[in-house]
């Protein structure tokens, strides 16, 4: 529908409309919005007092305070601004394997879902693609839910390619981000754990609120459908390994993947980040709507 992924049915979009992004801290926005901003403004939430100055709006004079102190004070309110939302989509080559799992398609759907939630809330969204082949969305904020179609068309034109070192890629992109905000990172995180930790750690330093979504394929989890003597080649590094895979080895492989996934999750939780694991065999809309809290969203 309008170039959106198949998962974006009208009912799913309606459910997404009910969600909003939840951050653990307040971030200044770039315009009016629904999120409290550390700036003082005209929201209903009281922030502070200051002495009256000539030219101040009489409507904000606290007359009760004047009666008690015989001095004029102006009530200050917090500003409500939009939230700067950054969605990082891993489009490295590993996202294309196993092809049957359609990991990258699911990752795009996840990124678009986050973008739609943000756009529907009036927030600004910037989607940044790590590696990949093709013309991705421009590195600028978009506003308005109608821009989801444009984003979807841009993202679906991408092909997973190239190698991603999360720490290096995120550090490079972080330099271009002038303001802090909410960060969604969608990746399979199939890389060396120290690279993942250094990359995610950069956002902590930049006081960003991070949600990491790990997308893994069902076949990928169960041994990629391999058996017997196989030479496996890493899609990104080209490194090859000769292995014999039988039931015992398949189970050992599965356990290793699970262990790697838990390490990422454990790191995220320790650093106050949100973490969610999505396996492509699961229903996407069910996952997204049930794991709202883990995804850093709220109804």
């Amino acid at each position: 529908m309008f170039g959106l992924p198949d998962e974006f049915t009208p009912s799913f979009l309606a459910r997404l409309e009910e969600l909003r992004i939840k951050t653990r801290r307040q971030y200044p926005g770039m315009g009016k919005g629904a999120h409290l901003s550390p700036k003082r403004g005209s929201s209903l939430e009281f922030s502070d007092y200051r002495h009256y100055s000539v030219g101040d709006d009489f409507r904000y004079i606290d007359w009760g305070m004047y009666a008690r102190t015989d001095k004029l004070y102006i009530k200050l309110f917090k500003e409500e601004e939009d939230l700067l939302t950054y969605v990082f989509l891993d489009a490295s080559a590993s996202m294309g394997f196993p092809a049957a799992d359609k990991k990258f398609e699911k990752a795009i759907a996840t990124a678009l879902a986050f973008a739609y939630v943000a756009l529907a809330s009036g927030d600004r969204v910037m989607i940044r693609v790590l590696a990949g082949e093709g013309q991705g969305p421009p590195p600028s904020f978009v506003v308005g839910r109608h821009r989801i179609v444009d984003l979807a068309q841009r993202l679906t034109g991408l092909k997973p390619a190239g190698q991603t070192d999360l720490a290096t890629a995120l550090a490079h992109d972080l330099i271009g981000l002038r303001r802090a905000g909410k960060v969604f990172i969608v990746s399979d995180f199939l890389m060396m754990p120290n690279s993942i930790m250094r990359g995610l750690g950069l956002f902590t330093v930049a006081t960003m609120d991070v949600t990491a979504v790990q997308v893994l394929g069902t076949r990928e989890m169960s041994g990629q459908g391999l058996s017997g003597d196989v030479e496996v080649v890493d899609a990104e590094t080209g490194e090859s390994l000769r292995v014999s895979i039988a039931a015992q080895e398949r189970e050992q492989y599965h356990n290793t993947l699970i262990r790697l996934s838990r390490e990422v999750r454990s790191f995220c939780l320790k650093r106050g980040m949100h973490y969610a694991l999505y396996t492509t065999g699961d229903s996407f809309d069910e996952f997204f709507l049930k794991a709202v809290t883990d995804l850093g969203l709220a109804r």
Binding site: S94, F97, M191, V232, V233, R242, V243, E249
Partner: protein, 600 residues
């Protein structure tokens, strides 16, 4: 170098197949995966493990080499090299027991000199032969010189006399054949010139004086008498007159002593007319000499003391007269009921008007046998009035019989027989035939003596008793059993105990060949009853060390073909050893690789 089975080289065709198989295995399915991170924890290729197919690397070439070697081994390669096969013929006959001047026996001296000669030969293989009781090869296939020396050291001398004709035949065959380049013959017997050039003779022992017992026989003067008459032949093989003394003991108790004075190279007779009863008799000659084997002789009383007779006849009443003879037990049976098994535990059998269907396993007498029996094949002519025409006066069968008073009446006259001789002739044929077959004595009469036995017609009774005595071994002229001469195992005997005490299983009716030792053999029959049997050297030719006739060898003097002396040295064993070593090496290296950590 050559190949015994070059056809096996066709299996080299499987080598390319192996290469293809390896190449196919060497390119496993390459699968691009999202990350090899989780695969690093897995083990490597199964084929990289021990027991699996190795990689197409050094192990492939090792296995290729192993396969090639296996195919080569199937082709049975060999190296042709010129060999020096020799044969050793070692005389181990009884004469080699004689002592030499140095004190050692001739046989020990022959062994030492043979081993010394073998050490000087650059022999590749050695075929080792012994001469007694018959020339035979020992050690199976040709031996290495070391094995041959070991075998020579293990051999022992026999009590059996040599068979000069067989030895000469063996030497002639070896000397004229192309299988050996040299023959070493070690013996006390010299070779008659001209000896074949390829025979190196080692002659041990000079002519020495020797006093010997030849035969030792026992006879019972009359059938059923207790005393035995012993007769020994003694010889003086020395250049001077010698007084010899013979002492006879029975069951280890001294019985009698007799002396005889014999001139140089003279043979005499020593008799003991009345020896007391005993089971085993032993005669010892003195003075002793360097060859003790022929200074002792053994004899047994055998079964003459008590005789068990099976009387097979349609008229069993004719056996009544036999019962009156002391020490004789008679059992009668009709011809229809007779089976060969009935002869077990029987000393002799009498077939009256009947004939057995197979050669009896005991001494047997056929009385007026029916015509056309397939075993003996007698041809008899009935005669209404038999006239005695001729008899052998010195034969035990005719001893003390007054043939002029012998009135036989009607009977049968036998035609000449293939292997039985006539003892008494009638006018127109033989009246009594006797002979030996398969170690047993057989006698046939053309008249029936039993109705007259002990009643009237005294000459007939004496003739009958002589016949029974002949069959029972009484008055036998036979020198008994001799070393080196096989004998038939009597019926019912299942074991034979050698003089050494060793027990040999035996089968009735078969030849017993373990007869190399002089002494008393015990034949174990039903109920483990032991019957002694004396076996003696009883060969004065062997005992005569004064004049040993040389051995004449006849062989072609043609030089052996050099090619025929070349030997094919098989290489298969070395190749198999190399295969095993390579397999062990590969297993060890693969094991070490498995132990090392997998690539990170």
């Amino acid at each position: 170098m050559g190949l015994l089975n070059p056809g096996a080289l066709i299996f080299f065709a499987i080598v390319p197949a192996l290469v293809i198989a390896y190449l196919a295995r060497e390119r496993p399915a390459r699968v691009t995966v999202s990350s090899v991170l989780a695969f690093r924890a897995l083990r490597g290729f199964r084929k990289e493990r021990f027991g699996g197919m190795p990689k197409f690397d050094w192990s492939f070439f090792v296995e290729l080499l192993i396969l090639s070697l296996a195919v080569l081994a199937m082709a049975k390669p060999y190296l042709i090299r010129r060999g020096n096969p020799i044969a050793i013929v070692l005389d181990n006959s009884a004469a080699m027991q004689a002592a030499t001047r140095e004190g050692a026996s001739r046989f020990d001296k022959a062994k030492n000199e043979t081993a010394a000669m073998l050490s000087n030969e650059d022999a590749s293989t050695v075929a080792l032969y012994l001469t007694a009781p018959q020339p035979h090869q020992i050690g199976g296939a040709p031996l290495t010189p070391i094995q041959a020396r070991f075998q020579i050291a293990q051999t022992s001398v026999s009590d059996a006399p040599p068979d000069p004709a067989a030895i000469a035949g063996l030497l002639g065959e070896l000397a004229s054949g192309s299988s050996v380049s040299k023959v070493i013959f070690a013996s006390s017997r010299p070779l008659a010139p001209p000896a074949p050039p390829r025979i190196d003779a080692i002659t041990v022992g000079d002519p020495v004086e020797n006093f010997a017992i030849g035969s030792f026989t026992l006879r019972r003067e009359t059938f059923g008498a207790e005393a035995l008459h012993a007769r020994l032949t003694v010889a003086n093989f020395s250049p001077k007159t010698q007084s010899l003394q013979v002492a006879v003991s029975g069951d280890d108790k001294p019985l009698a002593v007799a002396k005889a004075t014999l001139g140089p190279n003279e043979t005499g007779l020593v008799e003991f007319p009345s020896l007391g009863p005993a089971i085993i008799y032993k005669a010892e000659l003195s003075p002793r000499d360097g060859f003790s084997l022929d200074n002792i002789a053994y004899a047994t009383a055998g079964s003459v003391k008590s005789v068990s007779i099976l009387f097979v006849s349609p008229r069993p009443g004719d056996a009544n007269g036999l019962d009156s003879i002391p020490g004789v037990r008679v059992s009668a049976k009709s011809p229809d009921a007779f089976t060969p098994a009935d002869l077990n535990n029987i000393d002799l059998a009498i077939f009256e008007f009947a004939a057995p269907k197979e050669l009896p396993t005991v001494n047997s007498m056929m009385v007026m046998p029916p015509a056309g029996d397939p075993v003996f094949g007698f041809e008899a002519t009935p005669s209404a009035q038999i006239q005695i025409a001729r008899w052998i006066p010195t034969d035990p069968l005719s001893d003390s019989v007054n043939f002029r008073l012998l009135n036989i009446g009607q009977g049968e006259l036998f035609a000449s027989h293939p292997w039985m001789e006539s003892a008494v002739d009638g006018a127109g044929g033989s009246l009594m035939l006797h002979g030996e077959r398969q170690g047993h004595r057989f006698l046939a009469t053309g008249f029936n003596p039993f109705p007259y036995l002990g009643k009237r017609n005294l000459p007939m009774s004496i003739l009958t008793l002589n016949a029974l005595g002949y069959l029972a071994g009484v008055g036998a002229n036979s020198g008994g059993y001799r070393t080196g001469q096989p004998w038939l195992v009597p019926a019912g005997v299942h074991d034979v105990i050698l003089p050494s005490g060793k027990t040999i299983p035996a089968k009735s009716g078969t030849l017993f060949t373990e007869v190399s030792a002089q002494g008393i053999y015990k034949l174990v029959g039903p109920g483990n009853l032991e019957t002694p049997r004396a076996v003696n050297l009883a060969d004065l030719t062997t005992s005569n060390f004064e004049s040993v006739p040389p051995l004449k060898i006849e062989s072609s003097s043609a030089a052996p073909d050099l090619e025929s002396r070349s030997e094919k040295s098989p290489l298969t064993g070395y190749i198999l050893a190399a295969i095993l070593a390579l397999l062990a090496l590969e297993a060890m290296l693969l094991y070490r690789r498995k132990q090392s950590p997998l690539e990170a």
